[in-house]
């Protein structure tokens, strides 16, 4: 039974590799899938390919992993700057500037 199953899987894999687009194209589609929704056709082709191709499965997993890592990195950096703030000097400068331009703007908006 097991042997039959493996045999069938082998036939399936070879068929996918031979008759569907090669990894090179699939990998491009996989990249796109992280940015936009795939069309139905693209989805079916990729799914079939992924059933037959371990490296492409890994490529997708690892790309997602790097994406997560980037988010994580971003968050850790956001946490780092939590202690930072505007300097006193900048604060005063901004307030002065805002006061003047708010007044000017109100004055001009009349005319």
């Amino acid at each position: 039974m097991n042997i039959v199953f493996r045999k069938m899987q082998r036939i399936f894999n070879v068929a996918v590799w031979r008759y569907l687009p090669p990894c090179k194209e699939i990998v491009k589609t996989l990249s796109t899938s992280l940015d936009r929704k795939l069309t139905i056709r693209e989805r079916v082709v990729t799914k079939l390919h992924l059933w037959a191709c371990l490296p492409c499965v890994r490529y997708l997993e690892q790309s997602k992993y790097i994406e997560d890592a980037m988010h994580e990195y971003e968050e850790s950096r956001a946490a780092e700057v939590q202690s930072k703030g505007l300097s006193e000097e900048a604060r005063e400068r901004l307030k002065d500037l805002l006061k003047t331009s708010a007044g000017l703007f109100a004055l001009f908006s009349v005319f």
Partner: protein, 221 residues
Amino acid sequence: MMQSDAVSLAVAKTSMQTGEIALDPVTKPKMQIDPTAWVDDHGDFLFRYAVVRLRDDSIAEDVVQETLLAAIQSITSYSGKATERTWLTSILKHKIIDHFRKSVREVPIDESDTDISGLDKFFERDDEWTGHWNNDLQPYDWNMSPEAALQENEFFKVLQNCMSRLPARVAGVFALREMDGLDSSEICEALCLTASNFWVMMHRARMSLRRCMESNWFKKI
């Protein structure tokens, strides 16, 4: 007519003194907005938001300043539906994109940015299966335990290092998408890219980063 002008003028005069702007004094008498209070209420928040993305304190200060000034000019379009902070943040976001656009424009446009023929080597084979992964370059099992790796500082250093090896524009686009979470359409519009250029650059960044992390980080474990 004369009278209403006189009223507005009076309002403007008080604004000059207090720095406050009354939003449409006739219909919304209670909506008083005080721009100087923004500095204390939201200044630090906006500054931190900017500094994470711009990586430079003084540039971040400048951008916050631009944001607040722009906010004053568009104050009449502020409907009061969103909170003040959300509204200011959305202006800030645009200012940051503007800044990025300027700095990216200064990087000379390079045809090679959108050239992915360098990726062909991953799919070169001597047998009949050319177009499929090369045996030596195909992704191998990283054996990753996701949480463990991400907590290590070293991991991020390697990641940063890999990012810096990408061409500046490619890395910039990738960071805008993955770190700042902008939509692809926003990025294309801001940087004047076509959708296919954007996509090619993202693909290139992903392939190179994955490969770079594989050989520089996961091999060691």
